[in-house]
Symmetry: C2
Subunit: 255 residues, 2 copies
């Protein structure tokens, strides 16, 4: 049975999509069968993997709004073992539509539960908010992975996010656990980065992944080529750190 991991943080630009794409890609390279679900109306995970948004037949919007739509054609992106349910701007409309629907928080969970048996991992990328789309991700997931940028504002939102996770666990998804906190965009030249790292590791202890993702320009260049980092620059520090990180995720899954 596949494990579903939602990547969430309402603070913007902390590396959610970059983590979703590169984790999914390295897991696929390690012969895991992986499904990436993009529930962000921006569709960055979709385009970051080179999927042309205007050539897509159906997106996660169609499957969430019409539960009878059978998901028979998952998109196989150009990477072996990696499949994607894409998103596009129509999903922005779903936020208002879903509010008045029945089982509005469980729409994604139904899709994920139908597909679990076919995959080793299901990775869900979310938008920078704690609205109905991210809520669907938190309800559909076994664990939540929190990318945390090594910056001051990123720390501020953490309490709000952890409180939301607790509330979801209590009411909507009792099985929800914290996969861990991944420190991202670490810049070894600044005091701020090392200050954040020591504060976070002191407070959250073993919940913080050992791997820290450095700031690396190759990571921000790779989406413009529609490729994950291991296909664009496999020897970059960005690629090597996400490779190490994916090993930690695999280890957690077998523990």
């Amino acid at each position: 049975m596949g494990k579903s991991i939602v990547i969430a943080n309402q603070k913007g630009g902390v590396g959610k999509t970059t983590t979703a794409i590169n984790l999914a890609s390295f897991l696929a390279a390690f012969e895991k069968k992986v499904l990436l679900i993009d529930i962000d109306p921006q569709g960055n995970a979709t385009s970051g993997l080179g999927v042309e948004k205007d050539q897509i037949d159906r997106t996660i919007y169609d499957f969430m709004i019409d539960p009878d739509e059978r998901i028979n054609n998952l998109l196989e992106c150009k990477i072996k073992n990696l499949y994607i349910i894409p998103s596009n701007v129509h999903l922005a409309g779903a936020q208002v539509e879903l509010i008045n629907m029945e089982n509005r928080e469980y729409r994604l969970k139904k899709i994920v539960d139908d597909l679990r048996a076919e995959f080793d991992f299901i990775i869900i990328d979310t938008p920078p908010s704690l609205g109905i789309l991210t809520l669907n991700g938190l309800v559909a997931a076994d664990t939540v992975l929190i990318p945390l940028q090594c910056e001051y504002y990123a720390m501020e939102g953490l309490t709000q996010l952890l409180n939301t996770i607790k509330r979801v666990k209590k009411v909507l998804n009792p099985g929800l656990e914290l996969e861990g906190i991944l420190l991202t965009m670490y810049d070894s030249r600044t005091n701020l980065s090392s200050q954040i790292v020591s504060e976070v590791t002191d407070y959250f202890k073993e919940k913080v992944f050992k791997t820290i993702i450095p700031r690396n320009v190759k990571l921000s260049e790779s989406p413009s080529f529609g490729k994950p980092i291991d296909q664009y620059q496999p020897d970059s520090t960005g690629a090597l750190s996400y490779k190490e990180f994916s090993k930690e995720i695999m280890k957690n899954a077998t523990a």
Copy 2:
């Protein structure tokens, strides 16, 4: 009559709050009377100016939900000429509450119109989404300022944002104009940054501000001291670029 400028971009982490705080602070230093309104539930503009969130009496949430609440005590932050209407996590609840209220898109506009006569500039910081809070910002504003990070994903969301602005102008706020596009986090060492700059300036021409904000660690350190950049490190490249930018804004306002 004061000019109101909303700072918006649904892409996360592009420098909306950093621009709101530092533009407001330099305008105040140039003897303009400035009001900063924080409508992001994350409350980063509030804490970035050193306002203690748990000591605030009333936030923008109270004024938007209960239109009879008189705004008689604007918070004067420690900077001369600079006032703030703060935000905190209660505002996250407003997103659902506002959806079913009358005049839901005009709630902020009423507040801004009541205060315009007292200020030279009213600056509105928004969350990373195109939901009801950002919509209120677009309806309340004379112009919209778009910070654009010099990164690939930031370009992707621009079309969606410009379409939303067009729709708001057509239906809810016919006077809404584009203040301009501000390129942020420019890193002169990377090809990606210069590629983005040339693409954006070719396409948007005079709508792009001449000032480009460089990536500068002092800008990300200053919120941890609760100070805008001109109070924290006035000689940094970050401070000098926001100073130049504020001059462009003042020039536009008198044109």
